[in-house]
């Protein structure tokens, strides 16, 4: 499926040295992006002395038992499950709240519209750290302290501002005529949002979802403060257990990190190629 932008226009205008330079740049960019992943995979297959002797070499004999250790002693599987629950809840809440707000701000003229926008903008500027204690008290009052749902709410609130801003700009790019046509056919606003606007703004929408999901998945600080029970630990909090007591067991830690990072990458790759890219031409047309 050809990109509308990367058309014959660019291809014909490109000279050989220009192409070579671009290829080099692309290669360099990819190497530096993927470096840490390679590093944690190679590191996870070493023994501790080997790792400290040279963190950058390739492992000689591969210590697959590090992975077993990670799952058995470090209980990485439990953390994965907890993270999955929390992130799913958080994304659901975020989609529900952010898309409705973004749509209202994009398509409707009403008094107080600017005020709402400014309010949302203002909340993005407050450092989340200082909200920890007040949020603590509020969650406790609501009986949500230590629950996945409570943390998911905090996550959704944290990503709300940026998501609204981004979704709004993507919604604005969708042609109004299509919505008006649907309205003439008798569709309600929610239906229009779900069946007309979202599909057309899908690349942007999915981008926002992916970005927010990543943020929630990798959050350490909030999960640490609000989910204190050992059994509820999400992935980042669970990983903290490696940094305890005497020394850091790097190879096992890297094995745990690999198991946590690589599937997410693979999932993301599939997700991105199938959905985000598949809608380029269709969306614009």
């Amino acid at each position: 499926m050809p990109d509308p932008f990367a058309s014959r226009a660019l291809r014909s205008g490109l000279t050989r040295p220009g192409k070579l330079l671009l290829y080099a740049a692309l290669l360099l960019a990819m190497i530096q992006a993927v470096g840490p992943v390679i590093w944690i995979v190679t590191g996870s297959l070493k023994t501790r002395p080997q790792f400290y002797a040279n963190p950058w070499s390739l492992p000689t004999d591969w210590q697959f038992h590090n992975y077993v250790d990670a799952f058995v002693t470090a209980r990485v599987g439990d953390y994965l499950g907890n993270s999955l629950i929390v992130v799913s809840l958080g994304i659901l809440l975020l989609i529900l709240t952010a898309s409705t707000t973004a749509y209202a701000l994009a398509r409707f003229q009403f008094p107080g519209r600017s005020a709402v926008l400014l309010l949302i903008l203002a909340t993005m500027m407050v450092p989340p750290d200082i909200l920890t204690i007040p949020l603590f008290a509020i969650l406790r009052a609501l009986g949500l302290l230590g629950t996945f749902f409570g943390l998911a709410c905090v996550y959704a609130a944290g990503g709300y501002g940026m998501s609204v801003l981004l979704l709004r700009s993507y919604f604005l790019a969708v042609p109004v005529e299509l919505e008006e046509a649907a309205r003439l056919e008798g569709a309600g606003t929610i239906s229009i949002l779900r069946h007309v606007v979202l599909p057309l703004a899908l690349p942007g929408f999915l981008t926002v979802v992916i970005i927010q999901a990543m943020g929630m998945w990798n959050d350490l600080y909030l999960a640490f403060v609000f989910l204190r029970a050992a059994d509820s630990a999400t992935v980042p909090v669970g990983l903290l257990n490696f940094f305890q007591r005497s020394s850091i067991d790097w190879p096992t830690l890297l094995a745990a990190l690999t198991t946590l990072t690589v599937p997410v990458l693979i999932l993301f790759t599939l997700f991105q190629r199938r959905f985000v890219e598949g809608y380029t031409v269709g969306a614009v047309k």
Binding site: G188, S191, Q244
Partner: protein, 439 residues
Amino acid sequence: MSAGGTPRHTVITRAAFVAMTLLLALSSAAQADQRLVIFGPSSWDTFAPGAPEPVISTVTASLDAGFRRQHPEVTQIIHDSRGTVAEGLARLRNAQFAGEQVDVIICAANRVNTSFAARGLILPVDDLIARLGDRFSVGAVGNFTLRGRVWAVPLSAVNVTTFFYNKGLFQRAGLAAPRTYAEFLAAAPRLRQLGVIPVVHQGKNAWMWPIYYMSALAQTTGNQPVAETEAILSGKARFTDPASLQALRLTRRWVTDGLLDPQSNELDEDAMKSVFYSGRAAAFFSDSWDVADVAVTAPFPWGVFEFPQYSGVPGHSSAFGGAESGLCLSSTSRQPALAADYIAFAAGAAQAAQLLAPLASPATSHREVPGAADPVSLTLRSYLPAVKFLDWMWPLELTDTIQRQVQDMMGGTVTPEQAAARMQAKYDGMVASGFRYQP
């Protein structure tokens, strides 16, 4: 397209999530029977810390079994010690603030002195100390005494600051363990000829730098570092005074004289130890709580020596340390009498011996439990009595500044004079904002 109404599958999904949440909330509701919670702010705060996991589990289990025989109404004793040392205070505070059950706290002397007592997280235990009688080593109870009240029952190893060194490398360089700084300095070239860094430090951990400053201050103040610190905190002396300034200069010389690796700030504890174990460095200055790790991991003969004696100073070399952890009574406990009984039981004769035995430390908080008898422990015991760590007296913000300044000084970005000036400026600022030192 469906007009209006939410599709059924969405409704079911939403209901499922709500149900799941309710289930989670319900399952975390407190049990009705009588539990006791022994809380450790960090994963270091357990019984027999530093011993291998199975040993910790065994001694803890046997302690709990013994206590429950005496108190059959207790159905469950929960031990919760997790997380890093740095997060410890936050973890304890959050747990208490959330209304979680916290009865007994295994508390480090440092924390008791700097935060727990002042912030009302624990209750004084003078009566418990009286109940337990005169069984504690010299200075153990004093380590937990603030403003005339005792805040924890000591139950720990007595640890002291010490140098660790690679005997093999020293022998190859034809050296013995140095007693004075001058000796060490003379030995350095021979070590460097072997391609070895004489001394390395976990500089990345800012909190480990002040022990150099303290060790020098002990000597420059004629062995009155505590009195000098009190004077500084009361405004009668300053960090920029000769004694303190000289202590900083002497510390800086370790780097400029080529003894201490100038890039030590790159290393955290793990990295430093790995440099030592791989034979790339010959010595490091730390505390005897590292003995367990070194004994197990060092692939060469190793030893300890006391901080060297500087020349031209009124005092002699001394080690810092003491009984470093104990049992505290949480101020949020709803069953303080039971918690007190547990503490008394654990610190009592029979139990204390069992809990302290696996530590193999130079000495313990209990007189009747002697330290280990191996050569290293005997050497370490010869350093006693140890001086109280000065950062137990400094207010936390000042400690933070002192740590950073010494770290920056050793990294070469500030001079000793600048470091002293900034420490003093920080303290002056705190006083101006209303801080008052209460001895």
